[in-house]
Amino acid sequence: MGYTLPVGFVAALLPMTPAVTPAPWRACFLDALVAAAALALAWWLHLPHGAPAQWLLATPSLLQLFPLVFALSVLAVSRVGGHGAWARPVLAGGVLSLTLCAVLTGPASGTPVPWVVLCGASWLTMLLALAWRGSQLWHSAVHSARQGTLVAPRHHTPVLATLRRQQTLLMLLVARDLTLKYRGSTLGMLWSLANPLIMTVTYGLVFTYVYPSRIEGFVYLLLLGILAWSFVAVTTRMATSAIVDSGSLVKNVYFPRLVLPTATVLFNLSQYVVALVVLVPILSVATGHLPSWLMLLLPLPLMLLVMFAWGLSLVLAATTARLRDVQHLLDVALQVLFWATPVVYTLDIFPPGPWSTLALYSPLAPFITALRSLAFAAEWPSAQVMTLMVLYAGCAVAVGLGVFVRLEEQFAESL
């Protein structure tokens, strides 16, 4: 338990650094870095992912200590931060004190600190700061323009501002795709359930009768995997034609090209969400794995999965505009990836060793594992899984936007 003290201090001090940096976006970036570092640290230290609530109850002295530490922390943070808004110091103080308490009382009670508690501070500050900054930007995007100055016709505006301004176009593109897909069918959106249902039933039968699975309620696990898998597979496949199919538009009108692949992702997300909302409760009841409050955290891995799919889609849409056979390469890659992803199996079928590590590092594995542990096993995903998810999603978005912005100018000429 010797590591808890230094680790706790580092994790507690780091969220305060953004409070000292002036530029708001740099602060958010720092927050994200800190959160990722805290996660990586928890992984490296092999912290367990035990239930934080139980851990809190198992250390009674914590509850006595908490008010004092909380007051001190808020004071410290507001002194260091020195800015007017009360929410940030209180928040940072709260999580800081929690971490401090954890560190102070952890060794005494003999139960190791769950990683959720250790990383909670940095994660909460990061998410709240991001949401706060994001909403501010979202609202100011429309009014920020200065009239009368001359700029290049396609000057770069921040991505979030672009998407905000193109809200209507995005929604109409999604609506168009939905209308075209379900035109003339009476069942409408219900058709989007057909594909995952058929896959689940087929694989369910195989793993119940042909190769019986040891896991009870395996069909539910299967469904969670298949839904996530088909979301990514269908999105990426559709994204390859996002720019190419709108060739005449791209050649004759200017609008932010980013809208096209983004609309593809949103279109598929709508189908994914419908399938989740309808099928998960049914299977959860049918298999007896009733949802716990951890289900409320499902949006987190889902959001990261959407970011990952978005990043991939941007790369694929941009490269296909130039190299048309990217689509065929993707089809091959998806075939391989399906079996390299824990869709019809779970990660624990591998004995500890190089294979299990390799399987965990496969691009979609952390997302599906996290979804399954929250919905099926009703436990926190491990720090390792969380780190990989954040890493993959962050890298995909960074690379995707980088590639897309770089190639965007050539779309009109290479189509």
Binding site: A145, R146, Q147, G148, T149, L150, V151, A152, P153, R154, H155, R165, Q166, Q167, T168, L169, M171, L172, L173, A175, R176, T179, L180, R183, S246, S248, L249, V250, K251, N252, V253, Y254, F255, R322, L323, R324, D325, V326, L329, E409, A412, E413
Partner: protein
């Protein structure tokens, strides 16, 4: 017509645009890999300068006609203003947040399976309008196009004339600050052309800026107050309408190309080409 104001809304500073005419262009990953192995399959290209060192300012409220023979860079120029392509050299500047209406081809982006209504909404959104703004202009668009009875029909059932009407209505009712028109009057019947010309005059009266590419001296005379003549990507004349059209006529004559309708004494009310 309103006098042009002093502040420029479009500024070209020594703009050049190069296109690469590729031979053996690798259009796929497979070809890219083959090219890496075979020197003979490598890409070679010829340069084509569509615009050379073009400099001009366009002020708010001006109507500028770009004339020149085919391939002289007129359409490229419009695409640079719209932001569809980027200049190879030089700088293109446009007023920040000016709403640019592009009518480079009519009926672009119409999806045959969608109704006229859905298509109008989508097209207006592509031009940057929000849903509330579209709700406001939608009745006007429908009214102007005269297609109110067909609003819920899929566009695939429309004739090409109806397509054109719809496209032009959308572009005109979006109330652009800068309008880019490329040869759109060349198609359509006499009544449609007359309607277009009226709309253009009304647009100019409101103070809109117009960049107009045309081969037709008659419509240039009726709408524009400035002519820029392009030849092989370079500006050879920039000034008044009559002198500009003469310069273009001389240019065409010297290259042995007959330009219909350009003579010393044009009939003032010659009927538009049907």
């Amino acid at each position: 017509m309103r006098p042009a104001s002093e502040s420029p809304v479009v500024r070209f500073t020594q703009v050049s645009k190069r296109f690469l005419l590729r031979r053996n262009a690798a259009g796929s990953v497979k070809e890219l890999c083959l090219a890496a192995l075979h020197p003979s399959r490598r890409e070679t290209h010829r340069e084509l300068w569509a615009l050379r060192d073009v400099t001009f300012d366009i002020h708010a409220g001006e109507a500028v006609a770009f004339v020149g023979r085919n391939g002289s860079g007129k359409s490229t120029l419009l695409k640079l203003v719209a932001g569809i392509t980027a200049p190879t050299q030089g700088q293109v500047l446009v007023t920040r947040d000016a709403r640019i209406g592009t009518l480079i081809e009519l009926g672009i982006g119409f999806h045959g399976e969608l109704s006229a209504r859905d298509n109008v909404y989508l097209n207006a959104a592509i031009h940057g309008l929000s849903r509330r703004e579209i709700d406001e202009v939608y009745p006007a668009i429908l009214d102007y196009s005269g297609l109110a009875d067909f609003a819920d029909q899929p566009v695939r059932n429309f004739s090409s004339g109806m397509h054109m009407r719809l496209g032009f209505s959308v572009a005109m009712q979006l109330r652009p600050d800068i309008l880019l028109l490329d040869e759109v009057f060349a198609v359509g019947d006499a009544a449609f052309q007359a309607q277009c010309l009226d709309t253009m005059r009304a647009y100019r009266h409101r103070g809109g800026t117009l960049l107009f590419v045309s081969h037709e001296p008659e419509s240039v005379r009726q709408i524009c107050d400035r002519v820029i003549v392009l030849d092989a990507g370079a500006v050879v004349y920039d000034g008044g309408v009559d002198e500009g059209l003469e310069a273009y006529a001389r240019l065409s004559a010297s290259r042995g190309i007959d330009v219909a309708g350009v003579d010393e004494h044009p009939a003032p009310a010659s009927p538009p080409r049907a």
